[in-house]
Symmetry: C2
Subunit: 412 residues, 2 copies
């Protein structure tokens, strides 16, 4: 008997009608002959409501007590979904992360799963029960409740699928799959039937909201087949699977933009060893993540160093760099918030020269200036003016997906 | 360093203002040099809200899932109270029943505590933390969440006090102690400074809402000193302690009435062995509790048998007895709902003849007819007409507490 893991997000279980809808879907899959493990998030605005309760008592509670409070949200959804399935006369049991044994490290609010025990799950499945598991939460070695941070329920689902050897992990959400670009920006964007873990990981890291990078990373590591589907429509979704299992791949799978970034530049950094390390270490120490780093020769013995940071980190980064430039003897810091990053992601980039060139060409043809470029094996990102971001995405998408350049090819 | 257990009910933690009030009281007690373990119930109407959520999904959920849902209420209060204490800069940690290890049997919705593990509690106390524990809940041997039923948080507090050897267990509620009679009925009723476990147990069983009988039973069993106090006023409460530790005792500690009962009578029960057993076994099998049983000789070979049941059980009892009387060959069943039970409770009753007589005298002097009498070592109850119940309580209270009859005496 094959085991299927399904995960339903907060909007999918927001009220009693939607809970009943989820119950029907779960029962249908069970009727198709699957053993079922179902991971759910907190209902709709429960988490916001809990945060508001906390805020009224203490504006800056400890992370431990915050997790203790937030974990309640999933405990409510699992018991209600179990009740909805009971109402349909099916044997079911709900389990908290502590009851399953989803063991994490002790970094509250962004814990990482280190082990999933399968004994209790196996026993309940063997007893013929549908098992409902609380997403987003874990328990540390000390027995304390942790939460996994944003997208945590996706990660729970993938970890369970890996631990139990599930045939597939279905992530139900309010969109019906992964698109070649944001359909609100690009009219011709279409849903992908399949995508590799690597590409999905890049897309997720670039801000595609559909899956959290950590869950994709885990799926890649353990070879879990993920499927992204809508919980409201009965249409096929997008399958995320190992690249070498895919029959053919696209050169480019997706085009994305991220407008929530800013470019910082440190002017006239002395050309001595250890300068870049010193700058980046100061930022990392304050929890500021840095992306797209470029160091350029300016004149003898002086360089400029540029990088991008997330919008929300700008104030913090500037405060830190104010001291850093004094310490290292640089001339100043420059900040540009009117930037955006456009990226293409595709397995095909690995082997096909000329793909990046086609991207640059699309930008040039539309008069869009490239300020910085960075690339990985399967990704190319360009920093451009923020008000040209949507135009850039459309131009690049046209070039690859409707301009005839895109060719399906055999996977490597 | 002495350890103190405090318990705060749902109204005491109903909102952020009250949580801060409780935090202040807890910190004050810690400042007086106590190690602190604090048990809290769910906030105000949280439990009702959760029950309503369940009802919308499934009008008759399993007890297991019901407990899974309800336990959320206390988890919210413990984390919020911990945050309120953190806001005052004190080290604190909240623990669910599972984290403490409050082990119960597996009878969901009315589980009984079978073991309290103290390792985690001891560790946190040793680390100098105020420990906040979720009341009302437990965990069974299977790791499933259970709830203890009505008054469960009182029971949690007493069980922790017993396990940890606390100097005292303070129960904070919305009344400020145990009274000699209901102050709404008897103007001269006054608060008792102290009362024995036995008396409190009788009073609680007779419907005094202030403590749940199970918690008093546990306190008696383990010799826990309980104190009932108001969380809103700074006045001394009532101390519930072992009778032989009390310096002096009152002959009568309290006068109560219970109007929520009915008297059933089975007419002309054949005088054969096993009749009473048969009648009571049928009722017990249907979960109907029977009180004040009297069998009276009517004439040769036929008896009448009377007893009282709770108001809410009358329909069920009558339905069962309808069959029983056919089976045993009795003539009929009679039901009187216009009755009430008035009782006196006091350790003094054990040793002092004439106390019951004084009670009967008070009733006679006020023209109140006694229909049935039952008594235990420290309690005398009379069944009278319901519309005379308040008059009876006042008359008896006057006799003992203001009529000069009551004499403090040395405890046995």
């Amino acid at each position: 008997m094959s085991l299927l893991v399904q995960k339903y997000g907060g909007t999918s279980v927001a009220d009693e009608g939607r809970l009943r809808n989820v119950a029907r879907r779960v029962i249908r899959a069970a009727d198709e002959g699957h053993q079922m493990v179902v991971v759910v998030s907190a209902q709709g605005d429960t988490t916001d409501h809990l945060i508001e309760l906390a805020r009224r008592v203490n504006p800056s509670p400890s992370d431990r007590e915050f997790d203790m409070l937030l974990a309640v949200g999933e405990q409510i959804s699992i018991s209600l979904l179990a009740m909805a399935i009971e109402a349909a006369g099916r044997p079911v049991v709900s389990l908290t992360a502590a009851q399953v044994g989803i063991v994490t490290d002790d970094i509250h609010k962004k814990a990482r799963i280190v082990e999933v025990k399968s004994r209790r799950l196996a026993r309940e499945l063997k007893a013929g029960k549908i098992v409902i598991v609380a997403g987003f939460q874990g328990i540390d070695r000390n027995g304390d409740i942790t939460t996994l941070g944003r997208g945590g329920s996706d990660t729970t689902a993938v970890a369970l699928a890996a631990a139990l050897g599930a045939v597939r992990c279905e992530i139900y959400t309010d969109v019906d799959g992964v698109y070649t670009a944001d359909p609100r920006v690009v009219k011709g964007a279409y849903k992908l039937d399949r995508i590799s873990h690597e590409e999905m990981l890049e897309l997720a890291s670039l801000g595609a909201q559909v899956l959290h990078p950590r869950s994709v990373e885990l799926a890649k590591q353990y070879g879990v087949r993920l499927e992204v589907l809508s919980s409201f429509a009965d249409v096929p979704g997008t399958l995320v699977e190992e690249a070498d299992k895919m029959e053919d791949v696209l050169q480019v799978s997706g085009v994305t933009s991220d407008k929530n970034i800013a470019r910082l530049a440190i002017i006239e950094v002395p050309d001595r060893p250890g300068m870049a390390y010193r700058i980046l270490a100061d930022l990392a120490g304050a929890g500021v993540n840095v992306d797209m780093i470029i160091q350029s020769m300016r004149r003898d013995h002086v360089n400029d160093m540029s990088f991008t940071v997330s919008d929300v980190d700008v104030e913090r980064a500037m405060a830190i760099l104010g001291q850093t430039i004094v310490d290292i003897g640089a001339r100043g810091v420059d900040c540009d918030r009117d930037v955006a990053k456009v990226s293409i992601v595709g397995i095909g980039l690995k082997e096909k020269a000329g793909v990046a060139t086609a991207m640059f060409q699309a930008l040039a043809e539309n008069g869009i200036n490239i300020q910085m470029i960075s690339s990985s094996e399967i990704k190319v990102s360009c920093l451009i003016a923020r008000d040209q971001a949507d135009l850039a995405v459309r131009a690049i998408h046209d070039k690859f997906f409707t301009g005839g350049l895109q060719v399906a090819k055999e996977a490597g």
